[in-house]
Point group: C2
Chain length 364, copies 2
């Protein structure tokens, strides 16, 4: 099958670029003696995860039991649930997986510790615990060294749990790489206060899990980090392009769409809207626009209805025709892929692979 | 099964409220001699569509061939594709459906006319055409009476097509009902110019399809409208509540979530983010917030990560506990339901029905 035979809208992944992105991050981690644990939330695909492991990743990070189960079924036996598990049903699913895979969970509360301990001890398994610490993003994570020591001690006293170390997420660092140094310095100040407290308390910290795609290639500047969890690096997107994390040639993903209407002056309507791309705004830079039209960058994606994308074509030298196809780089690749049950792996003009988004969809 | 047994996040639909919303809109339409053709994009469910038909709806509107096929399989035999069909593959799917259901398509280009005519004549079926006119939203639709007459004549000359009338979408009218009169007057001015041209040209306009949930109960003020296509009225949401289209007691939908972290001061994190709710901002009013916490309205949903919802609890008298459950009214119900493969119909505390979101997911 060729790209021309695909109906629209369709998410297409350039396999050459995907392979190259996977290799580049693996080489960076190898060079800096960091373990690479890609976050599977971006692709939600066992096939892509296995490509990452084949290139040297030690395992994966996931956000949900669903994702963990899909990865385990794909044969991945080292999984970090980088998300607090606080309900018995989810804890039971993690403990079941711990019977056949090395499972870790990141958490920040005594409730999560108790919940996981019950599930693990009932099944006579061990779950590794990373304590999440807040290093400035203000989402999850304990803030003080005292609080982290107290929770680490609580883990050590619980059956079925093993304290392995710390996790943090620098989600607030979305600036270009050459502007990150002062922010990384502040993160290091916070990390160091925790490390010193653990050293004083005599509690070994074997793992420090950090990283995100915007900071990934700066990970060697983060104090004490042993592994990183970038997700988006495999595909990249308009957010990453805007802050200079990768070039347009390194973006592996685009959404193939068709112009369905140009009846309104200075407008062209494409057959992809918020249910195809997500409505995630550009999260960096000037926050303008909902995608980059690769063939006609001067056509601005000014808004989405559910199934309509609104292009402003007033700056185009040639108005797009009804029926014409375009490829659009989405703002946020994780959100876009999550809209689809499958995406299409291409090489040149040929559709080589249909990649199932196995872990899309919900609990229950 | 009771609500307590549902894992989170879960979309729950109060069936009593759903039934009441369906009945209220059907009664309004009956009273005003309007046909009711609910837009199925909101629920994407054959089960809910059949509840609407049982209450008096004449058929459904859909946005995509996928949705049309699901509705046809559910036994619905009067379907309007309220979206321009411009590719041979999609036209073929519509024409196939026309072999067993009354199919109409709304369009605004000669390319769409030609594409549908080929597909319909090849299968010896007839597809009804509604010409979409732009009445101020500036998305799809021809603007001038001359252009609409020209396209109507083009339809009349094509094998397999039948000109049935006009369609419009007042998507720009999102103000409270008592502020809509001047906007409706402007729509009527535009509608009338088309009606007069069609009368002069001697082309009968049998159908005028209008409507949207914000304007639905004002439809009798729109000149010449014969049917309306509201979607969201079945569930309502925070957008509709904000402009006074329905009360909180009439909102049938909520998302059941669990607090997974409260380690950061003045924050509580829920296990639903943009992949559960969508990242649609509030599209009306002050555009603030990503949902209404029903049990604690003073907790503001200030942002979403993919799987984390960020609550600001600084104005709460009691900070939510880890493990506590909350129900949240989403900003935009169509976008939220589209994130899920199934939702849960409840009556009181009992889960009475699992509603499959049959038409979620993509083309191909």
């Amino acid at each position: 099958m060729t790209i021309e035979e695909l109906d629209t809208p369709a998410v297409v992944v350039d396999l050459d670029i995907l392979e190259s992105n996977i290799k580049r991050m693996a080489e960076y981690c190898s060079e800096h003696h960091l373990r690479l644990r890609p976050h599977a939330k971006t692709h939600k695909s066992g096939v892509v995860a296995k490509m990452q492991l084949a290139a040297g990743a030690c395992g994966v990070a996931v956000a949900k039991p669903d994702e963990a189960e899909v990865m385990a079924v794909a044969g991945i036996d080292d999984i970090l649930v980088a998300y607090p598990i606080v309900t018995p049903r989810k804890a039971a699913r993690i403990a079941e997986l711990a019977m056949r895979a090395k499972m870790r969970v990141a958490l920040d509360s005594i409730e999560a510790i108790e919940c996981l301990s019950v599930a693990a001890s009932e099944r006579d398994v061990n779950i590794g615990i990373l304590l999440e610490i807040d290093i400035g993003f203000a989402r999850c994570g304990v803030g003080t060294a005292e609080a982290s020591i107290a929770l680490a001690r609580a883990v050590e006293g619980k059956r079925g749990l093993r304290f392995d170390g710390l996790m943090f997420y620098p989600g607030h660092i979305k600036s270009p790489a050459n502007e990150q140094a002062p922010l990384i310095e502040e993160v290091n100040r916070r990390l160091t206060s925790h490390y010193e407290a653990f050293a004083c308390a005599g509690i070994p910290v074997d793992v420090v899990s950090g990283g995100s795609t915007p900071t990934a290639l700066q990970s060697h500047y983060f104090e004490g980090v042993t592994e990183i969890r970038p997700g988006m690096y495999v595909f990249l997107d308009r957010n990453m392009l805007t802050i200079g994390v990768g070039t347009q040639e390194q973006c592996a993903i685009s959404v193939l769409v068709t112009i369905v209407s140009n009846a309104v002056r200075s407008r062209a309507i494409i057959d992809g809207g918020s249910k195809t791309f997500s409505s995630d705004p550009l999260s960096v830079g000037d926050h303008r626009g909902y995608g980059l039209v690769l063939e006609q960058p001067q056509a601005e994606v000014i808004g989405f209805s559910e199934e309509h994308g609104h292009l402003d074509t007033s700056r185009c030298t040639r108005a797009p025709r009804v029926g014409e196809r375009l490829r659009i780089l989405p703002n946020h690749v994780c959100a876009t892929i999550n809209m689809h049950d499958r995406v299409f792996g291409i090489r040149g003009d040929r559709v080589e692979q249909i990649i199932q988004i196995d872990a899309r969809g919900g609990v229950q």
